[in-house]
């Protein structure tokens, strides 16, 4: 019997999602939908998804939609069993197509390109459509909401994109860093899965080479891949993104793999008006929110477990000055296991700020944790 202990280390009871790596043993759980049964017969949606790069491992995800006690006290112990057919739907789903993939739940419908879009090469790995459904709107295009709400011509530039990563070298290395531009190089489709808790899909970058030197001058070379795993949980109005760079030492496949430290830069082209309301606290640089103060009050929130530099609006060097107010960019701090939340909501700016800060606290800073006992 496989059990899962859910802990909430925050100061307040709350609900959320948790993940744990799982290596199948002698009586492995089946891949796909699971049900996690808790105290009092409560049932929670869970699933076993493929690992982004290791076929021998799995990732267990569970959605806990009841409050978990604070301070890690009295953690609920859930029993995992196959067969989640009794859990109510609709479940989040992923639709993989030759040019990209779509994540869908009751609230969001997100399309991510592998490479070019409409013949334009710079859409690689970009979310070029994010549609929100809520109490007032049905599939409102959040990246271009002003045009969408008034039925004007859509802006084909709209996108949310990880456009570059930078791998820093040690201080003694004569070449300080390696920049890997991502916006024009198509990503490859990795694993994907769907179930009662979430829909998830992974993008893999084209492999690239990275060389560095040890303190004694010994050269090291790695064959690297950036993995980006997107997850859309049931009922969520945010997409969780997990990033890491896997480096395999040259000539030593399967041995000495490392997760290399890197920084990332996000580029956002989103119709937020000429004077968007930006909230980004210098002392809490892990999240930021951008809002449009008029109908339909659309906003974007970003949170991460590594710091984010101040957001730039317009993005420096954006080539079209008449529309540069729609361009934003921000750099992340260094990390080798980066988690981000991309939140989309129509709400007054104050509510957007609160929702983004809360998302950071609940899903990034003090997420629920899951411990497996086999």
């Amino acid at each position: 019997m496989t059990q899962l202990t859910i802990r909430n280390i925050s100061d307040h009871p709350r609900r959320g999602f948790a993940t744990a790596e799982y290596t199948p043993g002698k009586k492995p759980l089946p891949d796909g939908a699971l049900v996690a049964r808790g105290p009092g017969g409560a049932e929670f949606p869970a699933q076993l998804d493929p690992h982004p790069h290791d076929a021998a491992r799995r990732v267990l995800a569970v959605l806990v939609d009841r409050d978990v006690p604070a301070h890690g006290a009295n953690p609920p112990v859930l029993t995992l069993q196959p067969g989640a057919a009794g859990l109510p739907g609709p479940w989040p789903r992923v639709e993989v197509e030759p040019t990209g993939f779509r994540l869908v739940n009751d609230r969001l419908n997100v399309w991510v390109n592998l490479g070019a879009l409409n013949g334009e090469p710079w859409f690689a790995g970009a979310a070029s459509s994010v549609q929100l459904s809520d109490d007032f709107f049905h599939r409102l295009e959040m990246l271009d909401a002003i045009n969408a709400i008034w039925d004007w011509r859509h802006d084909p530039e709209k996108r949310l994109q990880l456009d570059r990563i930078r791998l820093w070298r040690a201080a003694w290395d004569p070449d300080p860093c390696l920049d890997v531009e991502l916006f024009e190089t198509p990503f490859r489709m990795g694993v994907s899965a769907e179930g009662p808790a979430r829909a998830t899909a992974t993008l893999e970058s084209e492999p690239f080479d990275y060389a560095s030197r040890d303190p004694d001058g010994t050269p090291r070379r790695f064959r690297c891949t950036l993995y980006r795993t997107f997850s859309l949980y049931r009922d969520a109005d945010f997409v969780h993104e997990h990033l890491y760079v896997r480096g395999v030492p040259e000539g030593k496949a399967g041995a000495g793999e490392v997760r290399l430290s890197f920084t990332a830069r996000y580029f956002l082209y989103m119709g937020m008006g000429i004077r968007p309301l930006i909230t980004h606290f210098a002392d809490i640089p892990d999240w930021l929110a951008v809002s449009y103060p008029q109908h339909p009050l659309h906003g974007y929130g970003f949170a991460t477990n590594v710091h984010a530099d101040p957001i730039r609006n317009p993005h420096p060097g954006y080539p079209h000055p008449t529309h540069d107010h729609n361009s934003f960019s921000w750099e992340l701090g260094a990390g080798n296991d980066v988690h981000c939340v991309h939140l989309f909501r129509c709400a007054p700016a104050g509510e957007m700020v609160e929702a983004t800060g809360r998302a950071w606290y609940c899903h990034i800073y003090h997420p629920l944790t899951a411990e497996l006992s086999l």
């Binding site: 002003i146 008034w150 004007w152 011509r153 008006g273 008029q294 000055p321």
Partner: protein, 172 residues
């Protein structure tokens, strides 16, 4: 009479019959036109006139069909629904430079109007620009489409009139 699309140059299309006359005073129309020109959104409005007209007629129908009291409550509801269109026109059709120069222009204009004993009730230049853009958009829709739906456009003009009065000479 079949609907006629606006011309691509921004000029009203030729008509078989004369449309109902605009109730917006010439001075206000001129100010609104200047604001639109400063913001550089004239062509954007012309390109999207059909969609703007559709929304405004929808809002008018909504106000007519809901239980809001006739008079100021209906006007307020209509303006609350319609003014965000003008903000959208500015934020999509204009740019940072044009908005900055239009803001400077309007501040000077409002100051000059104050000197001439005009009412200046809205000190926020962006909101005032949106009001002027809205007046211009309504005026253009009225010019082009009033003959196709004279009742609705009569309503709409009367609903916008209080807004136009905000930039009308107090002693005029």
């Amino acid at each position: 009479m079949p609907e006629q699309p606006p011309s691509s140059t921004g000029a009203p299309p030729s008509r078989q019959t004369s449309p109902p006359s605009s109730a917006i005073e010439p001075e206000v129309r001129k100010l609104a036109r200047e604001a639109v020109a400063k913001l550089g959104v004239g062509q954007f409005i012309e390109d999207n006139l059909k969609q703007i007209r559709k929304k405004l007629e929808e809002f008018d129908e909504y106000v007519e069909q809901t239980s809001v009291k006739p008079g100021s409550e209906g006007e307020m509801t209509f303006l609350a629904l319609g003014l965000p269109i003008a903000h959208g026109v500015i934020h999509v059709g204009s740019n940072r430079g044009a908005l900055a120069s239009a803001t400077t222009w309007l501040e000077k204009e409002l100051k000059a109007q104050s000197g001439r004993k005009r009412r200046v009730r809205n000190p926020d230049p962006t909101a005032s620009l949106a009001v002027l853009v809205f007046i211009h958009a309504v005026d253009r829709c009225h010019e082009v489409y009033a003959s196709t739906n004279p009742v609705a456009w009569g309503n709409i003009l009367s609903r916008v009139k209080p807004l136009a009065d905000e930039v009308t000479p107090a002693d005029g």
